[in-house]
Symmetry: D2
Subunit: 293 residues, 4 copies
Amino acid sequence: MQIGLIGLGKMGGNMRERLRNAGHSVIGYDTNPGVSDVADLADLVQKLEAPRAVWVMVPAGAATQSAVDDLKELLSPGDIVVDGGNSRWTDDEKHADELGEHGIGFVDAGVSGGVWGLKNGYALMVGGEQEHVDRLEPVFDALKPEGPYGYVHAGKVGAGHFAKMVHNGIEYAMMQAYAEGWELLEKVDSVDNVREVFRSWQEGTVIRSWLLDLAVNALDEDQHLDKLRGCAADSGEGRWTVEAAIDNAVPLPAITASLFARFASRQEDSPQMKMIAALRNQFGGHAVESARR
Amino acid sequence: MQIGLIGLGKMGGNMRERLRNAGHSVIGYDTNPGVSDVADLADLVQKLEAPRAVWVMVPAGAATQSAVDDLKELLSPGDIVVDGGNSRWTDDEKHADELGEHGIGFVDAGVSGGVWGLKNGYALMVGGEQEHVDRLEPVFDALKPEGPYGYVHAGKVGAGHFAKMVHNGIEYAMMQAYAEGWELLEKVDSVDNVREVFRSWQEGTVIRSWLLDLAVNALDEDQHLDKLRGCAADSGEGRWTVEAAIDNAVPLPAITASLFARFASRQEDSPQMKMIAALRNQFGGHAVESARR
Amino acid sequence: MQIGLIGLGKMGGNMRERLRNAGHSVIGYDTNPGVSDVADLADLVQKLEAPRAVWVMVPAGAATQSAVDDLKELLSPGDIVVDGGNSRWTDDEKHADELGEHGIGFVDAGVSGGVWGLKNGYALMVGGEQEHVDRLEPVFDALKPEGPYGYVHAGKVGAGHFAKMVHNGIEYAMMQAYAEGWELLEKVDSVDNVREVFRSWQEGTVIRSWLLDLAVNALDEDQHLDKLRGCAADSGEGRWTVEAAIDNAVPLPAITASLFARFASRQEDSPQMKMIAALRNQFGGHAVESARR
Amino acid sequence: MQIGLIGLGKMGGNMRERLRNAGHSVIGYDTNPGVSDVADLADLVQKLEAPRAVWVMVPAGAATQSAVDDLKELLSPGDIVVDGGNSRWTDDEKHADELGEHGIGFVDAGVSGGVWGLKNGYALMVGGEQEHVDRLEPVFDALKPEGPYGYVHAGKVGAGHFAKMVHNGIEYAMMQAYAEGWELLEKVDSVDNVREVFRSWQEGTVIRSWLLDLAVNALDEDQHLDKLRGCAADSGEGRWTVEAAIDNAVPLPAITASLFARFASRQEDSPQMKMIAALRNQFGGHAVESARR
C-alpha cells in the first residue's frame, strides 16, 4: 500500500527501507532535504491518494505535536495518522481527539527494535480502533519480524504506547539485573573470567535472553568495560512507567531502582550523600572527605 | 566414562538418564531403594573403578555435608568428588579442604536447567583445579546443552557455585521485572489483552528471553493467573547473592528488591505496615483497619 | 487582625480556635451550617474589611479549585488568598495566575501538625511574594508553635507546598525506618521486649524523635499492634514527592520504597507475585499455592 | 562501684570520665600507655577486687576476641565481662560460652551516644542474665542519660547488640530520608533557602528529631555542603541489620536502600552502570562516555 512517513532519522530512514523492501510505496518527508522525498508536508499530503495513511516518526513532545497540528489541517476526513514515535501514552488520547474533530483517524504504535530493526523487523504494539488498525495491517506486516510474534493490537488509543512504555520499564530492570550480577562477579577473586561465565549462560540457563547475548558482545569488545564510564541516560519511558505505577498504586521496586541507578550514575557528586556525610560527622565525629575541585 | 551419582531425586534422576543416554556408565545411589542402583555408599564406591568420580546431587547443607563426610572415609587418594547441588559457595572451600586431607579432589558445579534439563541439557558452572575439571570433561560434555554455550570453568573451588548463585540472583530480578510490568499492564483499562502483549514481545523486542516464553506459557494456561496465590518461596541463592554483595560492598538494588518482594509475599499480614498504620493514627488521627480474625 | 477561613473540618476548626485564642478575628465558612459563622461565601466576603485575607482550608483538588474560582469573582484587588490545604505545588502557580488577573494576591502554606496543632502550634511552610507574606505575618505568628522554629517563608509561589510535600516524603521514610526496625526486633527470639527497647531509645540515641515518641505511645496502647491490620493509606504528598524527584532526576530510593510498601500493603493479593509464582512453576516445577476463595 | 575498663579511645576515654564523675572507681587499660591506668591486663585484673566487673570497649572482631581470650584466663569464677563495643550479636553467645566455661559471666551492651555521650549520657541496650545485669546496674545508671529513658535490658545474651544494631539500621534510613529530601529541595528553583526550611522543621512538624537538629547544625556550618564529598562509610551495623533481616525473611527496603546508597557513594565509577551503558550502546546505538583517565 501507499504510506506517508514523516521523520527519516535513524529509525524512520530504516523503516522506509524495510517498507520499500516489502513492496510498499513510501513517500518520506524530513526537514533534512538530503533525505526527504518531498519538499514539505503539503507536498507529501498532495502526493498521497485518499484515503491517506501518514506515519509520524519524530521525537515525542513538541515535534510530534507540531506534526499533528499540521496534519489535522492538511489531511481529509477518512485519513489516518499513526504516531510511531516514543510519545507518552497520555498524549495519544489528546492527539486522537484533535484529529478526530477533523474526521481523521489516529493509531498509536510503540516500536521496538533499534538499530537491529531494519534486518530483524520491528516489534509493534498498537493502540486504536479496530477499523483503523485493520487498514494499516499491510504496513504493520511489513515492519514486524517474520514469524508469529512481534505484533499486537494492544487495545484502545494509547494502549500501544503504554505497552511499549512498560516494555521499556521491564528492559530497565532486566539490564540492571545483568549489570548487578556482572559487578558482583567482577568483584570476587574466585571467579577468573566473568566474560566466559556470561557467555556460558547463553544456553541451558533460566536467564538466557537477547540482552544477555548483547552483554556478551559488549564484553567481547571490551572485556572489563574499561573504556566506558559508568553513566547511563534515560529516555523517558522509564520515568513514565514509574509515574503510571504511582497513578495506579502499583509497586514497582525493581524498575524504579533501575531508574534511580541511572539518575545517580549521571551525578558528578551526590548531594544526598553529602548530607549523610555531614550527619555522620555531626553525631560521631566521623571523618569527611573534602569535595574534589 | 564411569561415574557414581549420589541423589536420584528430580534433578539427579534426570541427570542419570541424560548421562546414560550419552553412553556413560552411571552407578546411582539414593536412600530410596526403589530408584537406587546400589545398597549403600560403600557398595557404590566398591563398584567404581579407581580413580573414581562421584557426583553428589543432594540438598545443600546437612545432606551434602554428610555425603562429604562419608566419602572422605570411603574414597581413595586420586578420586574426585563433584558437588552439583545448590551448596553455598562458602562451603566449597571447606569441603575441598576436608577431602583434600585425604588426597581426594573436589569440584563444585552449579547446575541450571530444572525440569527442562533432561531434554535441553544442563547449564554448568564449574569451579576447581584444572586437572580435576579436565578429568570430568566427558561428564560435563554429556550434561551440558548442545552447541557452544552452557558450560564454563569459572575459576577456583567455589567459583562454580558462586556463578550459579549470581545467575539465580539475576533470575530473581528478571522475573520481578516481568512481574512488575505484567501487574501494571493488567491494572490499566486501555490495554485489552495483556497476554497477547506478552506474546507479541517474543520477537523483535529488547526484552525477549526464555523467561518471557515461560510467562506466555503460564498466561496461556491461566490468562489472569486467577488460580494462583501471589506468594513465592526463595531457595537460598537469592539470599546468598545479597549477602555476598554486602560482603563486597556492591549495591544490588534490583536483586534485593526482588528478594524482599518474595519475603513480603509470604506474610499473612505485614508487621511493619501495622507500625505505619499505628503511627499515622497517632499523629493524624487517621483511621486504622482492624486485624482480620 | 481579621481573617476569613474557608473549611472548618478537623484542621480548619482547630485553626480557627487557635487564631481566636491569639486574639485574631476569624470569620469561618463551612458548608456545614452547624459550624459556619456565615451563610455563604458572599456573606463571608462582605463581612471582611478590605484589604481582605481569606485562608482556604479545604481538600486539595476540586474543592480548592472551586474556592479559588469563587473567590476570584467575590474578592477585590488588593485582597489575598492563602491556600493552606494539601494542594499539589503545581496547582499553586495556576491559582496565583487566576487570582492575579483580578489583582488578588496568593500565598501557599503547607501546614503540619495534625491533631496536635491546636495545642502545640502548626508548622508552616509558606510560598509567595514578600509583600503578601508580610501582611499575613500576624496570622502565621498565631498559628505557628512558640519559639524560634516552625515557620519559614520558603520561596516563591509553590515553595510552601513543595516544602511541605518533601516534609511528608521524609516522614514516609522515617516511619518506614522505625517500622522495619520494629518488625525485625519482634521477629527474633533473643529480644524479650521490643516496646521497652523503643521506649529506651527516647533519650541518648541518634534516632530519638517525635515519631519515636508516638511509636512508644502506640505500643503502650497495643504492645504488639495485634489489633491493627498492616495496611496504610497514602495521601498524595508521597506520590508527588516521587514524581517531583523523577522530574528532577533525583534518586529517592528510601522514600520511594516507603511509598511502594504502602501500595503493596493495600493489596489483598499481589498480582506481580502471582507472576513470580507462575514462572517458578514453569521452569522448576515448584509448587504453587492456589488463590484463596 | 569499682570497674575495669579496657579501651580508652574516643568512646572509652569519655566513658571513664563520665563514670568517675558519677563517683565510680574506674581502672582503665589501653595499649597506649599515655592514657592507661595500668601496665597490662594482668595488672588491671589484680587491682580489681573480686567479684570483678570488666567493661571491654575495643573494636569489634579481633580486638574484642583477643580481650575475651585474655580475660577468660585472667579472671575468676563470679567475675563479669561486659562487651560494650560494636560486636556483632552473633559473637555474643560465643563469648558468653567461652567465658561461661570458666564461670565468668557475660553481658553485651550496645552503646549509642557518640561524641555527645560524655555530656548527655549514653543510651544503653543490654543483653544477658538478670543476675549479671543487676550487678552492673550502678554502672549503667551512671552512663545512661538522666531521666526515664536511655536504658533497656533488652533480653538474653546478644539482645543488647542486636537492639543497638537495629538502632543503627533505623539511623541509616532516617539519615537517608533527610538526605533525599534535602537533595530534592536543593534541586528546585522555587525554594530559595533550603537551610531555613530545615530549620523551621525543628518544631511543630512530624519529622522533628535530633538528627534534624544536627542537619541544621551542619547546614549552618556549610549552607550547601559544598565543602564535602558525597561519600559515606558504613560501620558494620547496617550490613548486619540487612543480614539479620535476610536470616529472618524480613523485608527491609528502606534500610537496605540506605546501605546500598553508601556503597555506591564510595565508588569512583560504577561497574554496573558501565554494563548498562554498554547494553544501551549494543541495542540502540546510544552514545557512551569514555572512562575518565
